[in-house]
Symmetry: C2
Subunit: 337 residues, 2 copies
């Protein structure tokens, strides 16, 4: 069984008590500089590593935070995590990662089996179609703070960090209108997610502002994948009354729609305008390049983590909602040449 150097070893070496060693190591004020220096010297010579299980037990806190999200294999989420990791690392916190695969059952299971006693807080982006929040309520009741990001819920009194989905969508659609498109469809995400709803609202508001008709059959709710984009586009472009533009809830769906249109000989930009959401690197790679709303994913990660640490460190810190603006990036897919 492996054994590491403990403060007891240091104490014995120096013939002082463990509490002094403990104090010296944590740089508490009331310890003689000389003894502290000696302790520090021995500690590094012996290559002392603190045992965080013990610290956690004694202080009833670890320096761990859980990050729970649907996927990590896409640009947005992987960038958010990088942001989270960045501030966690600076502040000496560890990230414990859980991925739900966007399944509510797995999310529930993860939450119920969380090593909650060794977690100082949670950062979560909920799964689609998860309509119950009791499992989160229970966590909160145990005084473990949660900060939601991106896929948030309004049912819970917690901090949340999101991009401005409503205005981003509004701007995207208005951009299409200004470029001469009038029959604009929206291929949306699962109806249950707040951010899908907000993007839909932004879409509707832009249509309304410009007195364009809203057609039920031009609003399609499905999943977030490229394949969903293909299917949604195929649905839109097989019947009568075809749209002349598509606002997609994200870039992957937009790209799916584009591949469908391209393989059916429909000229993107010229005949049908497309705007996505995210600014996934693929949106620049595809041709024609894809107009999109850029999300500050890295900043969202950073901010979420900062907020969570604030909650962890200050018990009565008031929940906040932070909204980051998106940014329209005009490329080829939304302009008639």
């Amino acid at each position: 069984m492996k054994r590491f150097i403990t403060i007891k070893d240091i104490a014995k070496e120096l013939n002082i008590s463990v509490s002094t060693v403990s104090r010296a190591l944590r740089d508490t004020y009331d310890v003689n500089k000389e003894t502290r220096d000696k302790v520090l010297e021995i500690a590094s010579r012996l290559n002392y590593k603190p045992n965080f299980n013990a610290t956690g037990l004694a202080k009833r806190s670890s320096h761990n935070i859980a990050v729970i999200l649907p996927f990590i294999t896409n640009y947005y989420f992987s960038t958010v995590i990088t942001g989270i990791q960045e501030v966690a690392y600076e502040k000496g916190y560890n990230i414990v990662l859980y991925v739900t695969n966007d399944s509510p059952e797995r999310e529930l299971n993860i939450i119920n089996n969380l090593p909650i006693t060794s977690l100082d807080g949670l950062l979560v982006s909920i799964a689609s179609n998860s309509d119950s929040y009791e499992h989160f309520e229970e966590i909160i009741a145990n005084e473990t703070p949660i900060v939601f990001f991106d896929r948030v819920t309004n049912h819970l009194e917690t901090s949340r960090v999101i991009q401005d989905d409503y205005n981003g969508a509004f701007e995207a659609v208005e951009h299409l209108i200004e470029n001469g498109y009038t029959k604009i469809a929206h291929i949306a995400g699962p109806a249950s997610l707040t951010f899908t709803q907000n993007r839909l609202k932004g879409y509707l508001a832009a249509l309304e502002k410009h007195h364009l008709e809203v057609r039920e059959e031009w609003i399609i709710h499905s999943g977030f994948s490229q394949k969903d984009g293909v299917e949604d586009a195929s649905f839109l472009f097989t019947g009568e009354n075809r749209p002349d533009a598509i606002f997609a809830v994200n870039d992957r769906k937009a790209i799916g729609a584009m591949t469908y249109l391209k393989s059916n000989g429909i000229k993107i930009g010229q005949e049908v305008g497309i705007v996505g959401f995210t600014n996934d690197p693929s949106s620049e790679i595809i041709s024609p390049s894809l107009t999109t709303i850029a999300e500050p994913a890295f900043e969202i990660g950073r901010k979420s983590c900062e907020l969570l640490l604030r909650h962890i460190e200050k018990k009565y810190f008031q929940p906040q909602e932070i909204v980051f603006p998106g940014k329209l990036i005009v490329r080829e897919s939304s302009v008639k040449v």
Copy 2:
């Protein structure tokens, strides 16, 4: 300060000793079925959550494994992590995530500050240009097993999991040759990484087999980014003696090269053949689509984690090297129409 239900609470409730509760909870053989059932019932009724800091302290083990890698914002690594996470989750282990940003200094810093006493093992993919391995040796000396994946080192006696870089590269280059390209350049990664070296060797072997000349100036070592791909291509295509094909160390660089060629009016496939490595989703999105060697990233993640758990659970498990074959995926970028 938050407080959870402990085994003491359960013991008191049932008027039995904590040790019995502990045994019942862990389903140890020598406990009466009746009492065990009662314990289990109360535990779930009181919503008991084990304190892993305490378990870890007592058993000198946590159920945490650290994953240390350069980035998570690309297809390959994010998919590997998903695979790791998959088996870790099945087996009840937590993933503690560290990202080095491919900086050797940060890698060193992370390793030196690891909560090593509460880590059962490490899964690592090393940073480019990290030429010292002492920090890993120290970990291993402390009997904490490490499994390397993708970016591995041969200097250490540990298990490792990689794709077949040599044969993948060989196949890629041979495919170009079979399609009529004869002046094949290689835009490589940092020379210090083993897998870069292996792909280079595969490239050279294929040239040799087909009696094609090796030109020093057609082999460029730089970074892994799309931008590096652009620069490398611009270098290759500004002098005299331009190649008629490029084998790129990964898809991102291949894509960078393609954007350079496209914006310079050079016809990909027809005039210059390109093959990448990874099978990043972007390789299908770009047009012309990119021929590449697919890597089983998810499987590599799964296998690495399985191996690590084996090492954790069986102290004398012999280090293994697992090599996964790649698979040539022929698309448009490497065929003359």
